[in-house]
């Protein structure tokens, strides 16, 4: 009774007991909250980057591949209308030459040119040609045509000149530098294409197109093609990248097509997979962050009755030894060449790690201990079940990560047939799920599950070697050992200091062949 009175007095006094904290406490709390918020933002960016990288990877895999360097240019069909217009610009000299060519032919040779001029007018294509420019370019064209025709035909220069002037009486407007003039954008492609359709075949091989019938046929086809600007543009596109300007390539099968060189740096995509074994270590390898130990449970004073009278507490069960267990990973990786023997590797992967510990019997702690008893700030909410007592059963702690490995790859040997490379880098990752046990000194040493206790963001260091095979075949692949160790602890404030994951295994990669 008296006891109750005393406790009641104490409780009453203590319930009313208040102390005003200093202002720095709130500032520290606020700073800590801000820091956690910042960390969350970083995590969101990290996830966003992972999603972006994944999306890019998927896009790259599904999108049509770029042509191989040796791919004939005739297969390239994708060009924009603007590019078509600008490329037509590049072929203006050809056009000028071709426009002049009908001069050495008969009236039939001039006819198509006249048609085009008239059709251009008929279609109200707004080509505002500066008269001075036109004159200048006509003169240039005359000169160029004069030189060309005299070379090809071997005729007297003055005679050829006369013929050319005569021929150009009707053909000037085509040679009149239409590209350099301000042109309605939508119609420029049409105009240029039309021009090219007519001029190019003649211009390319004037000697080969000596037959008037052939020329007429080509030009008649050109007239038809005026109605289909798109088709013309497509044809024009074929011409664009070629050094041998060939528009109507069906007419000129003998004309060789020069391959182009793709100078773009190629990203190679690889599927990677690895299998190995891992464990949890106590800072076995250099780590950036130390896991702060709540209590050095391995160095506690010996238990037992002290000075006789007081019953000794039960001995504390120390954290279980962590045993090696299986791990594996699978993901995609992009290899970007940054030097002759150096590649930058970046990817996205799922990684599984595990270790094994021995724990005691399962106990429903929500029955044994009412809420608020545990050292966990949330009481028994997170540890309704705990493993207590002498360890007699093995439990596998599993860790599931999404990781973004970034590595440098350096070729160690000189050969190209079987290159050996060394990879080193860091792997930021996100612990997406774990069933791992957390050790606590309460209840004489227990294990319980608490996902909240783990640091979600994990940074690992990674290194390994690869032997690359099949370099001459379509399917290139590589294999080699790799080692991975954690730089961040799984739990920062832990009674069990073994919080750093270590993994070693065999990794294989296969390069996704590009579409041809």
């Amino acid at each position: 009774m008296q006891e109750n009175k005393f406790e009641k007095q104490v409780r009453e006094e203590m319930e009313e007991f208040r102390i005003r904290p200093s202002a720095t406490v709130w500032e520290s709390v606020e700073e800590e909250l801000r820091r956690k918020k910042r960390r969350r933002v970083v995590v969101y960016w990290f996830l966003l980057a992972a999603i972006g990288l994944g999306a890019y990877g998927v896009y790259h895999l599904l999108a049509p591949a770029l042509p191989e360097p040796s791919t004939p240019i005739s297969l390239q069909k994708k060009q924009s209308t603007d590019q078509a217009a600008s490329s037509a610009d590049q072929h203006t000299p050809n056009r000028q030459i071709s426009t002049g060519l009908p001069a050495n032919g008969s009236g039939a040779g001039n006819k198509p040119t006249d048609n085009i001029v008239s059709s251009t007018t008929k279609n109200n294509i707004g080509i505002a040609v500066n008269s001075n420019d036109r004159k200048f370019s006509v003169q240039e064209a005359d000169r160029a045509q004069l030189e060309t025709t005299s070379r090809k035909t071997g005729k007297n220069k003055s005679e050829t000149h006369k013929q050319a002037i005569a021929g150009n009486a009707s053909g000037r407007q085509l040679s009149g530098k239409p590209i350099s003039t301000p042109v309605n954008k939508n119609e420029s492609a049409k105009t240029n294409t039309r021009t090219l359709n007519i001029s190019s075949p003649v211009a390319l091989n004037p000697v080969e197109n000596k037959e008037t019938g052939k020329l007429a046929q080509t030009e008649a086809a050109a007239e038809e093609s005026q109605t289909d600007a798109t088709a013309s543009i497509a044809d024009h596109d074929l011409v664009k990248d070629s050094s041998t300007v060939s528009n109507n390539h069906q007419d000129l099968p003998e004309n060789p097509r020069t391959p182009i060189t793709v100078s773009r740096r190629r990203i190679q995509w690889r599927i990677e997979a690895g299998i190995g074994a891992g464990n949890r270590m106590d800072k076995a390898l250099p780590s950036l962050f130390a896991a702060e130990k709540l209590m050095d449970v391995n160095n506690l004073p010996a238990y037992g009755a002290v000075n006789g009278g007081i019953p000794a507490p039960r001995p504390l069960l120390l954290p279980s030894e962590s045993k090696v267990s299986v791990g594996f990973k699978v993901g995609v990786q992009a290899s970007i060449p940054v030097g002759r023997k150096i590649n930058l590797l970046a990817g996205l992967r799922y990684s599984y790690r595990s270790d094994r510990i021995a724990v005691g019997g399962l106990l429903d702690s929500s029955i044994v201990a009412p809420p608020g008893l545990s050292n966990n700030p949330l009481g028994t909410a997170n540890r309704a079940y705990q493993y207590q007592g002498a360890p007699h059963q093995s439990v596998t702690n599993s860790y599931h990560f999404i990781q973004l490995p970034v590595q440098w790859q350096l070729q160690l040997n000189k050969g190209r047939v079987m290159p050996i490379t060394w990879e080193i880098g860091v792997t930021p990752g996100w612990l997406i799920h774990t069933n791992a046990m957390v050790y606590d000194t309460s209840y004489y040493g227990i294990y319980y599950r608490d996902k909240e206790a783990f640091s979600r963001f994990q940074l690992h260091a990674e290194t390994g070697f690869s032997l690359h095979l099949g370099n001459k075949s379509k399917w290139r692949w590589s294999i080699g050992p790799e080692f991975n160790f954690a730089l961040t602890p799984l739990i920062r404030n832990a009674y069990d200091p073994r919080q750093f994951l270590l993994y070693g295994g065999l990794r294989a990669q296969i390069q996704i062949p590009g579409r041809r």
């Binding site: 008296q2 006891e3 009175k5 005393f6 406790e7 007095q9 104490v10 409780r11 006094e13 203590m14 009313e16 007991f17 208040r18 102390i19 005003r20 904290p21 200093s22 720095t24 406490v25 709130w26 520290s28 709390v29 606020e30 800590e32 909250l33 956690k36 918020k37 709540l294 209590m295 004073p301 002290v306 000075n307 006789g308 009278g309 007081i310 019953p311 507490p313 039960r314 504390l316 044994v368 201990a369 009412p370 809420p371 608020g372 008893l373 545990s374 050292n375 966990n376 700030p377 949330l378 009481g379 909410a381 000194t441 309460s442 209840y443 004489y444 040493g445 909240e452 404030n493």
Partner: protein, 186 residues
């Protein structure tokens, strides 16, 4: 702002609401932390750590019980973790007889103020202090305390009895001195 709304605002991460919640409970909670620690600096450290946990885990507050009681429980657990974590408190956590005192009558002659009582509790050996706080103030049973601290309930019981006797002795002594000085003052 009522408590439920305050919690909701805090969950949205509004700094003003967080400040308001802190202001509402900071004084009482520092009183709790003060009883478990040896210095005001340590008490404020525990308070800071406790409030960070409160805001971080506020989403798990079920709104069934009193918010103050929920925060208090977090503070107590944070304080216990703090004591375990810091070596200067660890030595006192192992219970010895060196502080044993004879049993005295447990009816303090004069009630003392909260701050004075808290200061006397803080002067108890660390092991006594924790058990006394947990049992006399927080209301945990000895079985619960034994499980929390990894000792038997018998140890908890005996330690509590010794802590209580020691405290009553000190209170008597303190009250007598206080009375004496008061008479001397008159």
């Amino acid at each position: 702002m009522d408590q439920i709304r305050l919690v909701k605002e805090c969950l949205k991460g509004k700094p003003q609401a967080q400040r308001e919640l802190y202001e509402l409970y900071a004084d009482v909670m520092l009183g709790v932390c003060y009883r478990y620690t040896r210095s005001m600096r340590d008490a404020e450290d525990v308070l800071q750590e406790g409030f960070v946990k409160v805001f971080h885990h506020l989403g798990q507050y079920k709104q069934e019980g009193e918010l103050g009681a929920w925060i208090r429980r977090i503070m107590v657990n944070t304080a216990l973790n703090y004591l375990k974590r810091h070596r200067k408190y660890q030595e006192g956590m192992f219970f010895t007889e060196e502080y044993l005192h004879p049993v005295v009558e447990d009816d303090p002659a004069e009630r003392i103020q909260g701050k004075e009582l808290a200061d006397l509790i803080r002067q108890l050996p660390q092991g006594y202090q924790v058990i006394f706080n947990l049992h006399a103030v927080e209301g945990y049973t000895h079985v619960e305390i034994g499980e929390m601290l990894g000792i038997s309930d018998g140890t908890s019981r005996s330690q509590y009895a010794r802590a209580r006797n020691l405290l009553i002795t000190w209170i008597d002594k303190y009250s007598a001195e206080k009375k004496k000085s008061r008479y001397a003052g008159k």
